[in-house]
């Protein structure tokens, strides 16, 4: 059962081979039995799940079920879930019971899906290794001495270990694509504004975007069909029709132009990763695609630019955690300033504090022009690199990360080295583009991801290219040994 994709499970449910309650119990049992060694879940919502599953079975019996009715899934613990703790991986929100559902949670639930639980993540989505979580590090199912990537590391590990058929994630600088690559699953970061951010706890509001983390492109399309859409409650949500993301999966790749950025294959890219990515590009050639070298000349500016924009926005967004209305509050505050400072000092971990402080510094009087405004000017140059490229090619392809998963602890004390592991993913967020990571092979027995970058709102094209690759390869069907 565990090797079945969401699409295959959907067929089993439709044919009444298995009930939603049976399927839900099967995954709850797997989590119970196997997650001790992975720590991919912060909360398992067994009661909610079995109740939703029973309701789904009634819909199925009544013939009113949709394609995803009764199928289990998990939410990254950044999405507010009514009546269920929503911690964002932080001590600050350890006691926070969300009073409402995020729009994404509501949409997925309206589609009849069953929530197994809330997955682990870097604190407030700040991290690339899932080691900054208040609830402890997550292990990579391919080798538990290694990190799963981050910040959606819990969702990636849970899908890779088949503790859930599919999960949600969020991506501010690579937080869906990087863990998807490091855990050997399929992750899609949609265009900025495509998926509602209402009820998705904010990190950097001009970058954040939610998306599916799945076993296959076909599955990612199924979940994106439910997640995407205009939401009047999110002021950055785009008013634009949602296509059927499953409709174009089987389009031919003949004549599709794939751009390969030279800058993504320069120094710093590990040989084993490069070989896998080049092999994947060869596979696309065989399918009839035309491969063209392109330049994204401002690539090396993406990380510095991001580490001004993201911390500035985070310091502003996280000012809401004041120990007054919700979240952690220190004991015996002597005055209001003491209440703010100690509640925040105790509630936030080191990485969150570093980023808040960088943001407070770069936004402080006298520094704004040199940092934030400068970064926004560079952001335009980075974005124009992509628009120039998309006047020549349909899709851009390259590595997701310079290396495969690193060992736990290896980069935990060196923030800058951690930040540089996102060098190929960050520019996509600055430009608001959709990006995907799909499994393309292994280097030293650890998974390697292939990145696909599309023009704004070209999710269907990315899914088409990913699905075609997955129709001729089986990397996405490989699961870690030892997790039976």
């Amino acid at each position: 059962m565990k090797e079945k994709t969401l699409a295959e499970l959907s067929a089993l449910i439709a044919q009444k081979e298995i009930s939603s309650v049976e399927l839900t119990q099967y995954y709850l049992d797997r989590i119970e039995r196997l997650d001790g060694g992975l720590n991919s879940f912060i909360s398992v919502t067994q009661e909610v799940a079995l109740k939703q599953a029973a309701a789904a079975d009634q819909k199925i019996a009544a013939g009113t079920a949709g394609p995803l009715t009764g199928l289990p899934m998990a939410h990254k613990d950044i999405f507010c879930t009514q009546g269920v703790r929503t911690s964002c991986g932080s001590k600050m929100l350890d006691n926070f019971i969300a009073p409402y559902n995020a729009t994404v949670v509501e949409q997925v639930s309206n589609a009849g899906m069953v929530m197994l639980g809330k997955t682990n993540m870097d604190e407030f989505a700040m991290g690339s290794s899932n080691e900054t979580s208040y609830y402890g590090a997550v292990s990579n199912p391919w080798d538990t001495d290694y990190v799963p990537g981050g910040s959606s590391g819990g969702s990636a590990a849970a899908v890779a270990a088949r503790l859930t058929p599919i999960a949600t994630g969020t991506d501010t600088g690579g937080s869906i694509r990087q863990p998807a690559a490091l855990c050997g699953i399929t992750g899609l970061k949609p265009t900025y504004g495509r998926v509602s951010r209402w009820g998705m706890i904010a990190f950097a509001s001009s970058l954040d975007q939610g998306g599916p983390m799945a076993q296959s492109a076909e599955d990612a399309a199924l979940l994106l069909n439910e997640m995407a859409g205009f939401d009047p409650k999110d002021s950055t949500s785009i008013e634009r029709d949602v296509p059927d993301y499953s409709a174009n999966l089987n389009d031919s790749l003949k004549g599709v132009k794939i751009g390969i950025p030279r800058e993504y294959f320069s120094e710093g890219l590990e040989g084993g990763v490069e070989n896998v990515v080049q092999d994947a590009i060869t596979e696309y050639r065989k399918m009839g695609a035309e491969v063209i070298d392109i330049d994204l000349p401002n690539t090396n500016l993406a990380v510095p630019t991001y580490y001004v924009v993201a911390p500035a926005e985070c310091s502003s967004n996280l000012s809401r955690y004041d120990g007054v209305r919700y979240g952690h509050r220190c004991d015996d505050p002597k005055d209001l300033e003491d209440l703010y400072k100690r509640s925040r000092g105790e509630g936030f971990g080191d990485e969150v504090k570093r980023r808040i402080m960088i943001g407070a510094y770069t936004l402080s009087a006298g520094y704004y022009d040199a940092y934030y405004l400068k970064a926004q000017r560079l952001r335009r140059l980075i974005s124009e690199d992509f628009s120039n490229a998309f006047s020549k090619v349909d899709v851009i392809m390259g590595p997701v990360t310079p290396n495969t998963a690193f060992r736990k602890g290896e980069k935990a004390d060196d923030p800058v080295s951690m930040y540089l592991s996102d060098i190929y993913t960050i520019a996509v967020n600055l430009a608001g583009l959709p990006g995907m990571s799909i499994p393309a092979g292994f280097s030293d027995n650890m998974p390697v991801g292939l990145q696909l970058i599309g023009n704004h709102f070209d999710e269907s094209k990315l899914l088409n290219l990913a699905h075609q690759y997955q129709s001729v390869t089986d990397w996405h069907r490989q699961a870690p040994a030892g997790i039976e």
Binding site: P99, I238, V308, G327, R344, R380, Y419
Partner: protein, 95 residues
């Protein structure tokens, strides 16, 4: 860019973060390293380039100025550390 102890104290105050005295040197080192990374930006001449604040270069949509929220005070205050008679309690502000 090298931050000193008093720089970190000032930034921590601006951000309303209590930082242990013993942790300040570590933060000074980490933040200096991040600012060194960020300073690579200054190598590029950006004169005449318009800042890009929104990835689609768009403005935020405004809605009609009408009441959309219903009163859920009790529910929303159920997460508050300290309330009384529907009010959030904080330490005394005015003597």
């Amino acid at each position: 860019m090298s931050l000193e102890k008093q720089d970190v104290e000032k930034i921590a105050h601006l951000a309303r973060l209590a930082i242990d005295e013993s942790a300040i040197p570590g933060y000074a080192e980490d933040l200096s390293g991040i600012l060194d990374l960020v300073d690579q930006m200054s190598a590029v001449d950006t004169d005449g380039i318009e800042p890009l604040a929104h990835p689609h270069d768009a403005n935020q949509r405004l809605r009609e100025d009408v009441v959309t929220e219903e009163n859920q005070r009790e529910l929303l205050q159920s997460n508050a550390p300290q309330t009384d008679a529907g009010l959030f309690l904080v330490p005394k502000v005015i003597e």
